[in-house]
């Protein structure tokens, strides 16, 4: 029994941190730090060598779900890959595409061995012969650090299936799982029209397990401490902890580990509380939704509750919009960004998203002359559900939530022109914005 598991039993206040227990603000956790804290990789323990599938049972029982945004049960995904024709491939997705998320980057830069353990355990459990860790191609420093971590592990023969690092071109849609699979197959990093899904036929036609790196880090702990330990935090229907990135008008923006089911307002308080009176929360990221601050405050952070409230969990994102900002202008900026990030493959997304971005910019910055709200809603309806991937649907979900939550403000804009909040400095990070020509 490790110190971590003991602490988890003794005091509910000490259930967290789990993933971030070994984090240092100055340095990357070395293999030695990592093994001292968590003990050796349990390839021969819980996930016993004679029964590789045993870990899948434990993951199933733990209730772990994907932490990249989909929220699909991890055990079920592993089982379908393991049941395939063999020669499976494991892909760890660390190519975080979401500008408001930095949890995956934090894990990879500070706690790489948790993720690498997870990859090796998953590969063992589904009897994979190939394993990839995908990061953004432009992150050369991270790549060097991970190569170093992999070398430490190679020196002691830790990963029976060698983990290959791959750099993915950095676009928003490039981190979508079918895009990663197509890229590893030598094609462009763009989503494909499914089926088949990667777990049926993925990299080189093999059954492919694509998991977010945080999901794999949880798996590394579940393999050591078991499913009951995992369920010791969170809700019965949404067990465990999750990393969330809190940004916007909060005093201490950053990545926090929370128990699933923690109220969104509590998460904001954990990040130092609002820096200004809050108007709304963006939950779930740029494919997520706005919620009015008051309504969002008590909502438990988990897929089911956030969805029921009209929001989304996504990759665990909370951004606080202060009353002095304009939610429509923020949304217009994000949609302009998403329009530029479309893969250019599907017509409705290629033409519809820029048109939608124009309509929103018109509403936010010009005053819509009484027509922009209607036009934005009409375009949203034309784009939704008509792409090969979720890109247009995610953008539409955000737009619809903005028109709902900022309804009064939208009417003001449409009839009288931009509100004073438009003049405020932009809140949400939008890569490449400096190069835009709004006119």
């Amino acid at each position: 029994m490790t110190a971590l598991a003991l602490a988890a039993r003794r005091s509910p206040q000490l259930r967290l941190p789990r993933l971030l227990a070994g984090i240092s603000y100055y340095d990357v956790a070395s293999l030695r730090d990592h093994e001292q804290r968590y003990g050796p990789l349990p390839l021969w323990g819980t996930a016993g060598r004679r029964r590789p599938g045993r870990l899948i049972d434990v993951v199933d029982a733990s209730g772990l779900t994907g932490r990249g945004g989909g929220g699909f049960p991890t055990g079920r995904k592993m089982r379908s890959v393991a049941a395939g024709p063999g020669g499976a491939v494991v892909v760890a997705n660390g190519a975080e595409g979401e500008p408001v998320s930095c949890k995956d980057r934090l894990l990879l830069t500070r706690l790489p061995h948790l993720v690498l353990d997870g990859i090796t355990l998953a590969a063992h459990a589904v009897r994979a012969r190939t394993a990839y860790l995908c990061i953004h191609g432009r992150e050369t420093e991270l790549r060097d650090a991970l190569e170093e971590a992999l070398a430490q592990r190679r020196a002691v023969g830790l990963d029976p299936v060698p983990i290959q690092l791959r750099g993915i071109p950095g676009r928003y849609v490039a981190s979508e799982q079918s895009a990663i699979v197509q890229y590893l197959n030598g094609g462009p990093a763009k989503p494909t029209f499914s089926p088949p899904r990667p777990h049926q036929r993925g990299v080189r036609g093999r059954p492919t397990l694509v998991n977010n790196v945080e999901t794999l880090a949880h798996l590394a702990l579940i393999a050591r401490f078991g499913d009951r330990w995992f369920r010791g935090a969170g809700l019965p229907a949404a067990p465990g902890s999750a990393l969330v990135t809190v940004s916007g008008a909060v005093r201490r923006p950053g990545v926090y580990e929370i128990e699933l089911g923690t109220p969104a307002g509590q998460v904001v308080v954990t990040a130092g509380g609002p820096a200004e009176p809050p108007a709304a929360l963006l939950v779930g990221g740029y494919f997520g939704a706005w919620l009015p601050a008051g309504a969002a405050w008590p909502v438990p952070m988990c897929h089911a509750a956030l969805k029921a409230a009209g929001g989304a969990m996504g990759a665990g994102i909370v951004a606080v919009l202060p009353v002095s900002s304009c939610g429509l202008a923020e949304t217009a900026r994000v949609i302009r960004y998403l329009a530029g990030e479309n893969a250019g493959q599907c017509g409705p997304c290629r033409f519809g998203l820029p048109a939608l971005a124009d309509a929103l910019a018109d509403l936010a910055y010009q005053g819509g002359r009484g027509r922009a709200v209607e036009r934005a809603a009409m375009l949203a309806g034309l784009v939704a559900g008509r792409g090969a991937c979720r890109h247009p649907d995610g953008a539409v979900q955000l737009v619809r939530s903005a028109l709902r939550v900022f309804e009064a403000d939208a009417r003001w804009h449409d009839q009288r022109g931009p509100c004073p909040g438009v003049a405020r400095a932009p809140l949400l990070p939008v890569p490449g914005e400096a190069d835009w020509d709004w006119a």
Partner: protein, 69 residues
């Protein structure tokens, strides 16, 4: 037998032949890409749907056959 139309949005180029051959089910959006009014094809239109599928120059339209009902 029931028939269902599917558009492969990546392959689709917005040529619009399908909407001309099957206006009962396929409309075009402002950019010329097909919108299926309903994915299910009534039996009476099955032949027209097959013709629309065959006419697509980029093979983006498919008719999926479901056994019974």
């Amino acid at each position: 037998m029931s028939y269902e139309l599917r558009v492969n949005p990546i392959a689709c180029d917005g040529r619009g032949l399908c909407a001309e051959l099957l206006p009962e089910i396929i409309e075009l959006d402002p950019w010329g890409y097909p919108i299926l009014v309903s994915a299910e094809v009534p039996r009476a239109l099955a032949e027209h749907a097959k013709r629309a599928v065959a006419a697509c120059p980029v093979l983006a339209l498919a008719l999926v056959t479901h056994p019974r009902g």
